[in-house]
Every structure is written in structure tokens, then in C-alpha cells.
């Protein structure tokens, strides 16, 4: 299965070729279908704002992005071919978001929620100080405003350019989750998207009350290449995919993209 598929398709074409089923699909239909192949059901990766647009009642206009000023900085003086601060800038331009996660509030089917939405296009959704801090703030905010929290996860793990500061986002976000759970009786629900691995999965993301995943998402602590290197052989095809996790008892449900608004609003009801 091909994880890295072209979603930033040129404007001037009407037909796309699905990289999963190899069928040609009408571009407009593809967009209307929330970037899910109408033939094979393959869920294509989308950015944070695309997710917001299709999830909230009035799309992006109905969403209030919070703590936008919190972003990662080059704490360690991490410079390779370019300084980390330049990498950050480039990613901002490329992805259109200032950090690998967007946090904020908005309504889904009339219910106000707090949301955590990762953008994999920004440095692979990696968690450094900016991501961790935003997550902490939104949990605190949700606790004050008595809002349920929904986390849409897509992350390659901790961001190495911030060294141990990144790893420390694991305990930091976990403290935030626990305080939220202590102070409210509201649900915290995670939805794992493709892909969700490493330190994000192994911290706040997995401590949700209920966990769903989009179909065929890659979900695991260690990346498949690391595992293959360790065990010295190829991994089975479906290994670490949503359906595999459901079978192994590691998640509760698979939700297709067009079911997510119903799913989210279900948790908001009394």
C-alpha cells in the first residue's frame, strides 16, 4: 500500500488516477468524497485545514484557531545543511500552517468541541515544544470552558531537531490529559489518521477514553522499517494498519471519513 500519494494535484486536470486501485476518478467527485477514492475507499492524506473544513459546521470559518503564537524555536542550535529555524520557515510555507498541530474550538453538528488537529505536511506532524505546548494549552482551555476534546492524530513521532525537549512533550501532554480528566467528566476521544507513530502515539494520543481510526491508517510505536531491520524480515502486508489494530484489540473502532461528524457529535450528546 502506498502511503505517500500525490494529493496536491494540479488544478488543470479533471481526472485523477487513484494510486491504490489504479482507477481513474473524476477530480470533483474525489473532492466531494472528502478525498476518499470513490471506487476503492482509499483515504488520502489531508492537511489540518482540509480536515477542519470537512469536520466543522461552517468549515474553516466555524473554527477558532487558538494559541497560534506558540511555535517551536531552535533551542539547541540544530544546524545541518540548514539551520532548524529555516526548516521551520520552509515547512510553514509548504504546509500553510505555523506548527505541526492546530488546536482550537468549533461546532460539530451544533456541539461545541475543542480539537487537536495534526498536519502531517508540517515536518511529518512531529511533536516538539510548539506542538506539545499547544496541546497542553487546549486541554487546559477545554477544562475551563467545559468542552470535550477530540484529537485527530497524524504524526511521525517526536521532533529530533529539539532533542530531549521533544521527548519531554510526552510527559508534558500526559499531565495535561490527566488534569483534564481530573477536572471534567467530559470525553476525550482520539482519532488516529495515517500515519500515527512514535512519541505522539505513546503519550497523550493513546490515553483517550475512546479510540477510533480512519481505515488503513498506519499506526504503531515503531516504524515498519525499524521493525524490519530488527527482526530481519519483511512485515506482513496488513501489519500495523487500522484493521489489524482493531483485530488485535488495540483500538475500538474504524470510522470512515464521511462518518466522522456523526461520530464526533455522538460523543457530545448528553
Amino acid at each position: 500500500m502506498n502511503d505517500r500519494i500525490k494529493t496536491n494535484l494540479k488544478e488543470d486536470i479533471l481526472w485523477l488516477k487513484c494510486s491504490n486501485c489504479k482507477e481513474f476518478i473524476f477530480k470533483r467527485i474525489f473532492e466531494e468524497n472528502l478525498k476518499v477514492c470513490p471506487i476503492c475507499g482509499f483515504h488520502y492524506r489531508i492537511g489540518a485545514y482540509e480536515r477542519i473544513e470537512m469536520t466543522f459546521d461552517d468549515g474553516i470559518r466555524g473554527f477558532k484557531s487558538l494559541f497560534e503564537d506558540i511555535v517551536s524555536k531552535d533551542i539547541l542550535g540544530f544546524t545541518t545543511s540548514e539551520p532548524y529555524s529555516l526548516t521551520l520557515e520552509k515547512n510553514r510555507e509548504k504546509s500553510g500552517v505555523k506548527e505541526a498541530v492546530i488546536v482550537g474550538t468549533g461546532k460539530v453538528k451544533g456541539y461545541e468541541i475543542a480539537a487537536i488537529i495534526f498536519d502531517f505536511n508540517f515536518m511529518g506532524g512531529s511533536m516538539g515544544f510548539g506542538v506539545g505546548e499547544r496541546i497542553i494549552r487546549i486541554f487546559n482551555y477545554a477544562s475551563q470552558k467545559k468542552l470535550p476534546v477530540f484529537a485527530f492524530i497524524a504524526s511521525g513521532g517526536a521532533r529530533m531537531q529539539e532533542g530531549m525537549v521533544s521527548l519531554y512533550q510526552m510527559p508534558r501532554t500526559i499531565i495535561a490529559v490527566e488534569k483534564f480528566k481530573e477536572e471534567t467528566r467530559l470525553p476525550y476521544v482520539s482519532i488516529f489518521l495515517n500515519p500515527t507513530t512514535g512519541g505522539v502515539l505513546a503519550s497523550f494520543a493513546y490515553l483517550a477514553d475512546y479510540i477510533a481510526a480512519e481505515p488503513n491508517a498506519l499506526i504503531g510505536f515503531a516504524g515498519p522499517r525499524v521493525i524490519e531491520k530488527t527482526i530481519g524480515r519483511k512485515l506482513p502486508e496488513r501489519f500495523q494498519r487500522s484493521e489489524f489494530l482493531l483485530e488485535k484489540g488495540l483500538i475500538d473502532k474504524i470510522v470512515r471519513r464521511n462518518e466522522i461528524r456523526d461520530f464526533v457529535s455522538w460523543w457530545c450528546r448528553s
Binding site: T80, F129, F221
Partner: protein
């Protein structure tokens, strides 16, 4: 048999071999006798040179040195009357993570260590110190017992990382680590962690969210292995030494970043040459740490534990211009 040596120790190890060879000759020729004398003179100079000014990569190498003392070395000597806590009661015991109740200076203490094994048979058995989910769940059980008995918890961290394997994933490695961190952050007793060798990312932090976190002088604690980092950054694992520099993974760097509470000194030549002295340094640090935190009431303890992690932003804003 040639002794194990990392590149930067080569000169020293060769000298040692030569000295040993000469010393083993019963009747030394005049020339050899003179040579031995000479070699011994320069030895101490080379020794000093080798172990002063270690690069971060050298420290990573020392942290992984096959003769470096592992968790059980320290545990067996620091604590008396060890009673082992075996398994999480849902899966067979994971030998890569050992748990005990023991006595430290006459007081009951809960102890956990990620154990690599001292020889190659042991290492196989202990999966080179890479725990499975059930290892972390066993540790959580230890924390629950410690909470019930109201005794402090001491952890020893020495792992390349949590085990990356099929079985580990199937049993929920990520959740095991998340729960381990969560339980450690909220356990209602004083906790002290020592990173004694390798502090490999998620698998390490699962046992290192304590009231006091110490890293040994030649241990490292990192978000990713230098090799992993080099392979991503440079598409070349061999550039790990550069990555080690960038990652700020030494005790010294981490202390400067205020991410740990202190450094445990190792004698010149590192723990593998001076295990007993290193042990004494750990002992002293542990005694002081427990003295500092044991008297605090639980609420204060947890508040401070959380603030240490939450407040890293203050320090960071000070560090970044």
C-alpha cells in the same frame, strides 16, 4: 585475545596489551625492561588524554561499552534482601525489565531497572535491554505496590529503546509506554531515576519521569539514537558522531538545558573501568535525593514533579535569544 576497544581508545588499549605482555614475561631482557618502564610512563599521559575531552559520540560509545556495569550491578550492591516482582500477571515475565522490593539504608524501597545483561547469553535472554509491553506493565504493578506500601521508587535506565518487533506492536507497545509515563507522573511516593547507560527515547522515558532525574557522566539520554538521526538527516548512519553532537544528549548538555536534576560523575576512564567508584557516586546522589524529597507531603511532591516538566518552557525561553 584482543580486548574490546572503541576507536578513540585504540591507542590506550594497545599500550595496555603491550604492557601486559611484557609483564607476563618471567625474565625480562634489559631492553624490554627499559621499554616497559617507558611505556608505563607514557601510559598515564595517554589515559588522561583519551578520557579527557570526550566528544558526545565518545560518551555514547562508553554508554554502550560491553563492560559497562548494567542495572543489576548497581541494584545488587545498593539494595539488600531483594524480593523480585515477577511479571504483570497477564503475560510471561519480561526479563529485560527487572523489578524488586529491596532495602536501601534499612528502609524498604521499590526498584526497577532496564537490564541489558552482563554476557552474551544474558543479553539474548534480556533482549539487549529492550522491553516488551508486559515489561512496562510489570513496572506499573511495581508502582502500585510502592504506592500501597508507601515506599520510594528508584529506577535504573539502560536501553537502546523499547523493543521494536511484531509481538511488541501486537500487544500495544505505545499504550504500555504511555501508561508507564502516566503512572510514574502520578504515583504518590517519592521517585528517583538514574540513566546509567543508554537512555533510548520512549523506552527510556517510560522509566524516567521521576522527582529527581540523574544522568551518569558518560551515559546519554536522547530523543532518537545518533544513528537513527544521522540516517534521517544525512542518509548515512556513519555520520552518527555528528548527530550525537547536534542532539545535545550528554548529561552535561541536559543539565544545562535544565532537563535533568543532576549529573553523576564517573572517574576518569568511565564506569567500566571504575564500577565501584561509580557505584559510590550513585549511592551518594541517591541518598541525598531521597533526603530531599522523602519529607515532602504527597501533594507538594506531585505538584513539583509536574511543574518540573511543565515549566521547561521558561528555561527554554531564557535559552533561545
Amino acid at each position: 585475545m584482543k580486548r574490546f576497544a572503541f576507536d578513540f581508545e585504540n591507542e590506550l588499549i594497545n599500550l595496555e596489551s603491550e604492557i601486559d605482555r611484557l609483564k607476563s614475561i618471567k625474565q625480562l631482557s634489559k631492553e624490554d625492561s627499559r621499554k616497559l618502564e617507558e611505556l608505563e610512563k607514557i601510559y598515564s599521559e595517554v589515559y588522561r588524554k583519551t578520557y579527557s575531552n570526550l566528544t558526545p559520540w565518545n560518551r555514547v560509545q562508553l554508554a554502550r561499552h560491553p563492560y559497562r556495569p548494567t542495572s543489576l550491578f548497581y541494584i545488587n550492591r545498593l539494595f539488600k534482601g531483594l524480593q523480585e516482582i515477577k511479571a504483570d500477571r497477564r503475560y510471561p515475565d519480561d526479563l529485560s525489565l527487572v523489578c524488586f522490593i529491596g532495602e536501601y539504608k534499612g528502609k524498604k524501597t521499590a526498584i526497577a531497572g532496564i537490564e541489558k545483561g552482563a554476557d552474551s547469553r544474558e543479553r539474548q535472554k534480556r533482549r539487549f535491554g529492550m522491553p516488551l509491553p508486559e515489561g512496562y506493565y510489570k513496572f506499573i504493578r511495581l508502582l502500585e505496590i510502592a504506592e500501597q506500601l508507601k515506599i520510594p521508587v528508584i529506577t535504573f535506565v539502560d536501553t537502546p529503546g523499547a523493543y521494536p518487533g511484531i509481538e511488541a506492536e501486537e500487544k500495544g507497545q505505545a499504550l504500555a509506554i504511555a501508561r508507564s509515563i502516566q503512572k510514574m507522573l502520578f504515583v504518590k511516593v517519592p521517585t528517583v531515576s538514574f540513566v546509567i547507560g543508554e537512555g533510548g527515547s520512549g523506552g527510556a522515558i517510560a522509566l524516567a519521569c521521576a522527582d529527581r532525574i540523574y544522568v551518569l557522566e558518560n551515559a546519554y539520554y536522547s530523543v532518537i539514537s545518533p544513528e537513527g538521526c544521522a540516517s534521517i538527516l544525512f542518509h548515512d548512519e556513519k555520520r552518527a558522531p555528528e548527530a550525537a553532537e547536534l542532539l545535545k544528549l550528554t548529561a552535561d548538555d541536559l543539565f544545562k538545558l535544565k532537563l535533568i536534576h543532576g549529573i553523576v560523575k564517573e572517574p576518569l576512564g568511565s564506569a567500566y573501568r571504575h564500577p565501584e567508584e561509580t557505584l559510590r557516586n550513585i549511592d551518594k546522589t541517591l541518598e541525598n535525593a531521597l533526603q530531599e524529597i522523602s519529607s515532602k507531603d504527597v501533594e507538594q511532591l506531585l505538584k513539583e514533579r509536574h511543574q518540573f516538566f511543565i515549566n521547561i518552557d521558561r528555561n527554554i525561553n531564557n535559552l533561545v535569544k
